[in-house]
Symmetry: C2
Subunit: 149 residues, 2 copies
Amino acid sequence: MAERYLRSIRLLAECFHAFERQSGANIRCRTGLTPSQFDIIATLGNTCGMSFKELGERTLITKGTLTGVIDRLEEKGLVTRVTQVEDRRSTLVKLTAAGDAEFHRVFSQQIAFGKQSFVNYEAQDFDALDRELTKLHANLTGSEPKQKY
Amino acid sequence: MAERYLRSIRLLAECFHAFERQSGANIRCRTGLTPSQFDIIATLGNTCGMSFKELGERTLITKGTLTGVIDRLEEKGLVTRVTQVEDRRSTLVKLTAAGDAEFHRVFSQQIAFGKQSFVNYEAQDFDALDRELTKLHANLTGSEPKQKY
DNA sequence: TATTGTTATACTCTATAACTATA
DNA sequence: TATAGTTATAGAGTATAACAATA
């Protein structure tokens, strides 16, 4: 007999993949950014920038990979590297003016796009979903979820 | 004001990431399978096989890409191609005995590990969670979730 | 010695378009 | 003509390990 929880986890994974792939396809279609690049731009948006280390932890991209992703974003003029004076091993990555403009343009597009999936949702639908997900998260990690966006 | 749905999507992503981390630095590392390859194995598990077309639709991998992914799984001896007699354009992809064994091996590992996270869940807790996730999936994809595991 | 980021390697995924075989 | 799958192409992501500079 299959364990009861597997059905729930499978549903969770399918929902996440469905959203990720939909939004990933949308990003590739409507912007010149890959999902990883978008993740970086979204993470840097509305911040003063952050180190490779922090950026890697937030986006779950390993440092060797991150170097290449940042290289490409720098070539596009969307981010810059700034060596830190306090600790010269560390490099700050931040959005350029163009990167910030792109962030607001793309992010608002992305919000508008994702919104389409929830046209049938009323306040109580969101509440019910959030309640179950928050409970699930608490059981998975023993803690409250962190706010990323 | 941030769109209401963003909170729910963020929760979804955090739950998924939490589960992946919890389930032991994720199945993919332990199996030697890439995410796409694992997706194929999981999709083919407990089925009689399916065509490239159907497999592509389920996993959202485009046909050109799918050829390469299936090639690598075939090299590993986990899947086979079977030309269809009814329509010789179509090719059935199915798990080999080794692929089926791998599917069940990973599956049982997942059962044993993930179970711990749900010690507090009763039947009605699972039902409530599944109800919300099924509704979410329907809105994200316009269809019922496909059973993968 | 430990940490931060880079480089090198080798592989995989990705979309797209042109192609072959079959219908 | 249309469909199923393959091949070719050119990029991008991925993990890993070895490396340099700095602490």
